[in-house]
Subunit: 462 residues, 2 copies
């Protein structure tokens, strides 16, 4: 990429960007390095320039400059991506959204909010305090809402409140030619034309830069209770989840930890959980009576399926301790083998195949040379594997990750439930989408004929 | 269209189609006439040929023939469309899906089902009896699930169970060149690439023919109760709905009828409901206690907002009588002025603007020369107006419908909450989508460069 033409193009682009961004465009090595990677082990990629716009109009101007000089554009949120989405694999302009962090409006009656793409989920939650509403989607990291939209993120509450797919009502995107496209209306539903909103949700910056998002909010539940239950077998735990959902029990979260994960959590969070396949439940309802009823139904199902004692966590302190332990699994796992590399991957299968998939994956892991744990949003059929690796175990882990995806796809599942494709999972899309992959290429070419928008992510264009 | 070349093309296409469809392709006048229109008053359009395929492969072969002879393709479901979707405005081949009526699979554990596009919603509901599951989306008519997918349909239960947008997990579409594209996986969620499923949901046959759909199912509620309540004012009714949703009360349906609609229902269904703005409620829950709790909360909110007596309908007979009356509003309205034409239109606004929109619409109607009623899925901000017209009142009604859409759009709403665009609402999309409309054209051109797939619907291509 470092041809003379390219160097001249970057210098000319920098001069143009400087005119309206001033100090908010940088070519400094340290800034570029910071924007060369997310949190994964995928190969980094340095952008040539980094911009910090403050409005959709500025993003549009940046993208127009990129078009004039044929430079790639890579959106950058909180940098918490796990599949290489923000790596500037072909250089170009990284657009860091951190200064687009205004909450544009909140409507309590409509239960929605419009935010700039750089607002993080915790920032939004804080802004919603005392409104009676909240935003539940929680991918773990304090990601930006733009990044969560771009990767179609979800998390522990998806079983009840859905993913970004269901919770983005509309957005604003800047296309490759700089045009500004608002999608959706503020109506809750519409049958008026193609669903452009859903086309951009999960497009990972490859169709345009998302600059603003309108989100569906949910009522803060009047009553909450939680519980934890260890099981003799993985099958018993999964069967409990399936039946709870079939019965319409109001679970807001059902999380699974395998026994290796429980062991790590015990050590890290100083707990003494039974080292067995374990479910964590949270119930939301309109009254104490309704959440108690839901929890009793879950307790009864657990007992039927080999539960080893359903422990209610009714106080806020107990609940917070439990969910803090769940949220800290990433660190708990790392602490099992300090200093090691972590490969984190996720798949999602139909829930009828989930127990089989987890059991087969554990059997596979037991043959390998590195420690690994499993944790999952089991109500959705989604689970994660974290592998703790020495440098010489990366190849072995990559081969495992391939087998995991092939196993999930063979069961009718997907190569990624919530982390996205980025550069890391492109190779799996042909098997998953067949002819659909070529349709994705047709759509990409129609909106970005020069392949400048986050090139090398999701699709390889020939 | 009746050029010599065109006549020869149709004859040649007929001969080719006859080879693999036999008697399942027709050029008979009566068959073509039947496929020239839905249930709206929009101008009909006769197809040149009508095909009755039995498989996705046959649909693919039909579309390949259409491509060879440059003939338009118009999918046809149950013919219940209200915006002219199935009218063959440029002739060509109507593909009637009635013989693609197999339920391919039902998975109780995964709570999903795959059906061919010609399966109707009542047929699916019947097939689900005794599974503990059901499919809730109910647009009134016994539409096909392919047609409901293509128009992004919804209905009375969307407030709780969502629309086709949320309930289609995947589908199979045949593109303009005959290629067969499966979308989605059987996993509940995925972050693996563009959301092709949502692109086809609501595309009204303009991007391809939908031949198979995988649907999310829901648990049959263990307990159901219903209620009806008249209100002094429209504002009071809407305020009750807003607060019920904010509190997370488990309403499965909240329907609004204006006093003219209530009057029509009284006459038609021999009821003696108070002739006032009225809400119909249905509550679903896991137990009698939970639905009773929900209903009590709704009762208390109704009382606060000018409710004139909250009447519980706890027995199945009472509930069925109530919802039958609601479902019969179309016929009840027609009976107000037998033999008249009915213009049925729908808009959807943010719920915070709903009362204002309904009041302004009623004031508008009160100045006009024809009777009209309003009924709505008020939890979504969606309402319908039915106008009963003599032939010489059509122009007046069309002008009213335009004002209605402009009012809804000015409030941040949409020109159609659930009926779709078809040929009837194309003119409103520029105001609603702005630059997004050109993006829709780019997508359409990329998948259907010759504009043969249901031409003249949603988009005009220049």
């Amino acid at each position: 990429m470092a041809s003379v033409e390219n160097i001249l193009a970057i210098e000319a682009a920098l001069a143009e960007l400087r005119e309206f961004l001033g100090e908010r465009v940088s070519a400094a090595e340290a800034v570029r390095e910071h924007h060369s990677h997310g949190e994964s082990t995928h190969a980094p990629g340095m952008p040539d320039l980094v911009c910090f716009p403050r409005s959709t109009e500025e993003v549009s101007r940046i993208v127009k400059v990129s078009a004039r000089y044929s430079l790639p554009v890579v959106p950058f949120g909180a940098g918490t991506s796990l599949e290489g989405h923000v790596h500037a694999l072909r250089g170009g302009i990284s657009i860091d959204m951190r200064e687009m962090n205004r909450i544009v409006r909140v409507s309590v009656d409509d239960m929605d909010a419009t935010v700039e793409a750089g607002v993080t989920r915790k920032q939004l939650q804080k802004a919603l305090e005392n409104t009676g509403l909240t935003f539940f989607i929680d991918p773990g990291a304090d990601a930006t809402l733009g990044g969560m939209t771009a990767t179609r993120a979800s998390g522990t509450t998806a079983v009840r409140y859905g993913t970004m797919r269901e919770n983005v009502l509309g957005l604003t995107a800047v296309l490759a030619d700089g045009r500004i496209v608002p999608t959706g209306t503020r109506a809750r539903k519409s049958s008026a034309g193609y669903d452009l909103t859903r086309l951009f949700v999960g497009s990972e910056g490859t169709l345009g830069v998302i600059t603003e998002v309108t989100l569906r909010l949910h009522a803060q539940p009047e009553a909450v209770t939680a519980a934890i239950c260890a099981f003799e077998t993985i099958e018993g735990a999964v069967k409990t989840v399936i039946e709870a959902i079939q019965l319409g029990v109001g679970v807001a979260r059902i999380e699974f930890m395998d026994e290796h994960q429980v062991d790590a959590v015990n050590r890290y969070s100083h707990l003494d959980l039974l080292v067995k396949p374990t479910l964590l439940f949270e119930f939301h309802g309109v009254s104490e009576a309704s959440v108690e009823e839901a929890a009793r139904m879950a307790e009864s199902l657990s007992n039927e399926h080999g539960g080893l004692g359903f422990q209610w966590q009714t106080t806020l302190a107990e609940r917070e301790r439990l969910w803090k332990a769940r949220h800290d699994v990433y660190y708990a796992t790392r602490a099992l083998r300090p200093g090691s590399n972590v490969l984190t991957t996720d798949v999602c299968v139909p829930i009828s195949r989930l127990a089989e998939c987890i059991v087969a994956t554990r059997a596979d892991l037991d043959e390998l040379s590195f420690p690994a744990v499993m944790v999952g949003h089991v109500g959705d059929g989604n689970f994660h594997v974290q592998c703790l690796l020495e440098p010489d175990q990366m190849t072995e882990a990559d081969a495992f990750a391939e087998r995991l995806v092939e196993r999930a796809q063979a069961m009718g599942g997907t190569c990624s439930g919530e982390h996205g494709v980025g550069s890391g999972k492109k190779k799996y899309l042909k098997a998953e989408h067949g002819e659909g992959l070529e349709v994705m290429r047709m759509l990409k070419r129609s909106l970005d004929p020069e392949n400048r928008m986050n090139p090398g992510k999701i699709l390889d264009l020939d």
